[in-house]
């Protein structure tokens, strides 16, 4: 833990101004990830710019029939928001699959997007880690990598993005609204998180000085046929080994449209349009689901301890699509797999 300055942002413009003036500063929202990392000396900000009181706490309907979620809406409030529960139950479910009730009360929408990997080595400053110290090496590739990625890895990093909420957001085609020194812009969710490549220190495409102000959902919520299935090492309060967000639109027993995204398998929530294409127009059958899984996992690569994830992901995809098609989504309050 290092000494740091603390200031409060008056408004979004002030937050941007403050961080532009001091690039080694960091925003703090719920603090549930940042404070832990600071205690471990992983994050060493010179200043915390507290954005938690900015007026970004509302969930509003948009002109195009979607919803705009302020970056500071707590995870718990979002999951239980009536409009989310009704129209985007996949999102509500994914949030409730994550962390614990206490953490969800503190955690913010923006913070959830920007939470960092749970790779053990990233947390331990006594070990090399390219994400923490670029160029120092990746300890996980030949180390404890049971939790690590099977898709989109690079020789510099095989970490996963740990969020559950983001898996549903990418499946739902959400967008991220940001503000920065150069003004505001909107980023497609699939482009928000990045693959490690040779710059694993960069988790997202957010530019220096930018703040997330909102997440926007388009109209379609796949509320009739959806699921969020999270597979983990205990029945609650553990990060995903593999998770699947699935949404289907059915016409009879044919799939008219499909969304499919995976968590716990890559440096970003993983969505692959070719797998969705393979589902469209097909009967909602086990064979269809299995072939979509095969397509989605075609480039999957395991490491010493996480090879099992490839087969697990395949089974989880099939199961999740089965749940979605049957209209029997996984309930997060029940630990029995639906």
């Amino acid at each position: 833990m290092i000494g740091f300055q603390y200031s409060r942002a008056q408004d979004v413009a002030d937050a941007v101004r403050q961080i532009a003036a001091e690039p080694s500063a960091k925003f703090i929202a719920g603090g549930t990830n940042l404070i832990d990392l600071m205690k471990q000396d992983v994050e060493r900000p010179s200043r915390l710019i507290d954005i938690s009181r900015l007026p970004l706490r509302s969930v509003e309907e948009t002109a195009s029939g979607g919803l705009r979620i302020g970056a500071l809406v707590p995870n718990a409030d979002l999951a239980y928001h009536p409009l989310i529960a009704q129209r985007y139950p996949m999102l509500a479910s994914s949030i409730l699959a994550g962390a614990s009730a206490q953490l969800r009360n503190m955690a913010s929408t923006g913070g959830n997007l920007l939470q960092r990997t749970r790779c053990y080595y990233f947390y331990d400053t006594a070990t090399p880690c390219n994400k923490r110290v670029p160029g120092s090496g990746c300890s996980a590739i030949a180390g404890l990598n049971r939790m690590h990625a099977i898709l989109g890895t690079s020789e510099s990093c095989i970490a996963t993005h740990p969020s559950d909420m983001c898996v549903a957001l990418v499946a739902l085609d959400a967008t991220v609204h940001v503000a920065g020194p150069a003004g505001a812009r909107v980023i497609a969710f699939a482009d928000f998180h990045r693959l490690p490549g040779d710059e694993p220190q960069r988790d997202t495409t957010l530019q220096d000085g930018e703040i997330v102000t909102a997440v926007e959902l388009p109209e379609r919520g796949f509320s009739a046929h959806y699921t969020y299935l999270k597979i983990r090492d205990r029945l609650s309060y553990a990060f995903a080994l593999v998770s699947v967000a699935a949404g289907l639109e059915l016409e009879g027993d044919r799939i008219k449209d499909a969304r499919l995204a995976l968590g716990g398998v890559a440096h970003k929530p993983w969505r692959d349009p070719t797998a969705e294409t393979a589902l469209r127009g097909q009967p909602a059958s086990q064979a269809t689901f299995a072939s979509a899984a095969t397509i989605l996992l075609r480039d999957a690569k395991g490491y010493e301890h996480n090879r099992f994830k490839i087969d697990l992901a395949r089974r989880a995809i099939v199961r999740a699509l089965t749940q979605a098609a049957a209209g029997t989504p996984q309930l997060q309050s029940s630990k029995k797999i639906a």
Partner: protein, 743 residues
């Protein structure tokens, strides 16, 4: 009279705990309290080459940075560091010299005005090392172990491998069926809720009052006095409340040494609280590799048992327990051989953790028995009944009592075991495979000499004092219950004082021995109180008790009453008034004479139901029945809690717990309770606890056996066996994670 003993009495300290008035080691304050923070080594083995503390010292508010180079003097002899329960070897000495024995070993201590300043400065200490090669992988070290010598008689060293019996090799060779397998349990950590902490109050003339998280205040008191060569009467150690310890607090931990070091150096009061991550640099349950072979003849009697274990210890001490002998208590077999080897790793010394050795060794034994039953196509419970041993075969003697048959019967009934269909994968519930498994548990009923002081006042209040601790098990409450019954007073009139090294002698609280020991201690002292009261009562003119002996009277409702005629009674208040005293005080030591004629053990039968999603492999432990024979139950409520806690921990042992070490760095990588998994509420479903009647007039006068550890023994095996029954997959290395079901 037993008004309170045996009843479901709520904790007398419950109110203080939930309202926050019960204070723990890190919550005591002192004027000018300074705060310390530990710098841990980043390597697992080597020497410190250089420590640069300049940046840390320049932080405003830093008072000192202590290292092995500038610390105050400490004793130089190994023996000075031997606490009451230290294993053989050279105990670790914090900040003693430049040697690194394990990763995260303390290498410097920063003391500052505020905890945050101390922690900041600690991050600025730079240490350079001469690195040596380390080994932290028991699998790599399994062929460079050293064997413990079996003993002729277990009484000589109860932790050594028991003597062999008969001709096991020969008998195995001629057995009708054999089962041989290897089982593995990884290193596990205790993870008590309360962080290790010491608050050292520096008083006049350098006297120290130390609030410490420990299971033995007098152990810490002796140890601190010895390490710092202090006048023992100048060191007082207090631990009124402990937020769990599970064995990790039996030995004094390094934070108390460091806090005292800082206090002596600054002549100031100092507090040191370890971080959750640093707690993983303390002791742990040793990893255990085990090979078991069982041979059986056609009529279902065991022909022979061999049990070989390898467990883990540090480079500097030999920690081990009785790892291999449990089968000699449970199953009749004329032929047996036991072997136990230790693997030295560059880690802190392993230590006791709830039911040390039994939790791990009985796991393997009971899985092996299950495998044998499957091979024989015999009901696993039936196999155990056929092999049931009425005698402890190591010492060739009977048990003071053994209610295990009742445990099997009542547990099976409550669980509905007779409905089990024997074939693996033959029971299901929709998409889930259902498995039913069972296992046996066994532990020791130990007792230790202990002193209790009782002060009874004329208004019918009593204070019970003993230097034992309540590590969360409910010791305060059972002591009050026993005292209330022995003194014939209402529970509310009893005050219990424990956790203070100045109180009457008590050994560390461990081994499940305190409940039995302290209860009999209270009974012994209460007897002396009664005798003294009777003596005074006889002096009262016209006393109705004049002709009676101490054994002829009882204390009841604030009166001394003749057992022969309840009308003959005098009140305590009257007796004391006549005698001209307003309080009576007695201190007695209860010691337990073990004649060697019987073995003293507790037993259990554990039945578990799991449901496993067939496609995904998610395991849910939907039901556990634990039937326990634990002698006389002092408090039905806290006893049930103990067993439930043990079952929950057993679920964790079976499915979740594992300390993950990166062997390249020799570091523990999941050193926090987000990544070190223990069961959460969602993992715990129905748990039914049954206590079978087990009267025992031999073990001790009150017939108490203790319940602290038996609850966990056998649980992991019952679950592993249930997982096999559900899935047909035998996973022999814990924890059973879903990927292992896929291999």
């Amino acid at each position: 009279m037993t008004t309170y003993i045996g009843t479901a009495t709520s904790r007398i300290d419950g109110h203080a705990k939930v309202t926050g008035t019960a204070k723990y080691a890190a919550e005591f304050n002192a004027p000018h309290l300074a705060h310390a923070s530990v710098v841990g080594s980043t390597i697992a083995r080597g020497r410190i080459a250089r420590i640069d503390t300049s940046r840390a010292r320049s932080v405003p508010g830093v008072l000192a940075v202590l290292t092995h180079q500038n610390r105050p003097p400490m004793a130089s002899d190994d023996s000075a560091y031997k606490d009451d329960v230290a294993p053989e070897g050279a105990p670790f000495r914090p900040l003693y010299n430049d040697r690194i024995l394990f990763s995260d070993q303390p290498v410097a201590l920063v003391v500052a005005e505020e905890p945050e300043i101390a922690r900041l400065a600690a991050s600025l200490v730079r240490v350079e090392y001469h690195v040596d090669l380390h080994v932290t992988d028991v699998h790599r070290q399994r062929h460079s172990t050293f064997a413990l010598e079996p003993v002729e008689r277990l009484d000589d060293n109860p932790f050594a491998p028991p003597p062999p019996r008969g001709q096991p090799e020969h008998s195995l060779a001629s057995a009708d069926m054999r089962h041989r397998a290897e089982y593995f349990v990884p290193i596990e950590h205790h993870n008590p809720m309360e962080l290790y902490a010491s608050t050292v109050v520096f008083e006049d003339e350098g006297r120290l009052t130390i609030y410490d998280k420990t299971q033995g205040v007098q152990n810490v008191q002796r140890y601190v006095a010895s390490v710092f060569e202090l006048d023992p009467s100048h060191v007082r150690v207090m631990s009124p409340f402990v937020g769990g310890a599970f064995g990790s607090g039996l030995r004094p931990q390094y934070q108390v040494v460091l806090a005292v070091l800082a206090s002596l150096s600054l002549k100031r009061s100092v507090r040191l609280v370890l971080t959750r991550q640093q707690m993983y640099g303390l002791g742990y349950r040793p990893a255990m590799l085990q090979e078991i072979e069982l041979g059986i003849n056609a009529h279902g009697a065991l022909a022979a048992i061999t049990h070989e274990a390898t467990t883990v210890t540090s480079q500097h001490e030999n920690y081990y327990r009785q790892e291999t002998g449990w089968s000699g208590l449970l199953y009749r077999s004329e032929h047996a051989r036991y072997a136990h080897k230790l693997a030295r790793l560059d880690l802190a010394t392993s230590c006791d953790m709830r039911a040390p050795s039994a939790a791990t060794a009985v796991y393997a034994l009971e899985c092996a028995m299950d495998e044998l039953a499957v091979a024989l196509k015999l009901d696993p419970l039936e196999l155990r009944l056929r092999c049931y041993s009425e005698r402890d075969q190591h010492n060739d003697r009977p048990y003071s009592s053994k209610g295990l048959r009742d445990c099997y019967r009542r547990g099976a009934e409550a669980f509905g075991w007779s409905e089990r269909s024997p074939e693996p994968r033959s029971m299901r519930d929709g998409t889930e495979l259902v498995g039913w498994g069972m296992a046996t548990g066994v532990w020791e009923a130990l007792q230790v000499p202990i002193a209790v002081r009782i002060a009874l006042t004329a208004n019918g209040h009593a204070e019970i004092a003993c230097a034992t601790s309540d590590i969360g098990t409910g010791t305060y409450t059972i002591m009050a219950q026993v005292a209330a019954d022995m003194l014939g007073l209402p529970l509310d009139n009893i005050t219990v004082r424990i956790g203070d090294s100045t109180l009457p002698q008590s050994p560390v609280e461990g081994g499940s021995w305190i409940a039995a020991s302290v209860s009999n201690g209270i009974a012994t002292t209460a007897q002396a109180i009664r005798a003294e009261l009777l003596h005074l009562a006889k002096a009262v003119p016209g006393s109705p008790l004049r002709d009676l002996a101490p054994d002829d009277v009882v204390l009841l409702d604030g009166r001394l009453v003749s057992k022969r005629d309840a009308a003959h009674a005098v009140s305590i208040a009257d007796v004391m008034r006549h005698g001209g005293v307003d309080r009576i005080e007695q201190e007695k030591t209860a010691s337990f004479h073990h004649t060697g004629a019987h073995s003293h053990n507790t037993h259990s039968a554990v039945f578990a139901e799991v449901k496993v999603d067939e496609q995904i492999g998610i395991i849910r432990v939907t039901r556990v029945v634990s039937a326990v024979a634990g002698g006389r139950i002092l408090n039905a409520k806290t006893a049930r809690s103990q067993i439930m806690g043990g079952v929950v921990w057993g679920i964790g042992m079976a499915l979740h717990e594992e300390t993950l070490i990166d062997h390249t760095f020799g570091r523990i990588m999941n050193a926090d309770i987000a990544e070190y998994h223990v069961p959460v509420n969602a993992d715990v479903h129905d748990i039914e606890v049954i206590f079978v009647d087990e009267p025992d007039g031999i073990v001790n006068p009150l017939g108490i056996k203790g319940l602290g550890e038996i609850g966990i023994v056998g649980v992991a095996a019952a679950i592993a066996n249930a997982v096999h029954h559900a899935t047909g997959k035998r996973v022999r290395d814990l924890p059973i994670t879903l990927d292992k079901l896929q291999r």
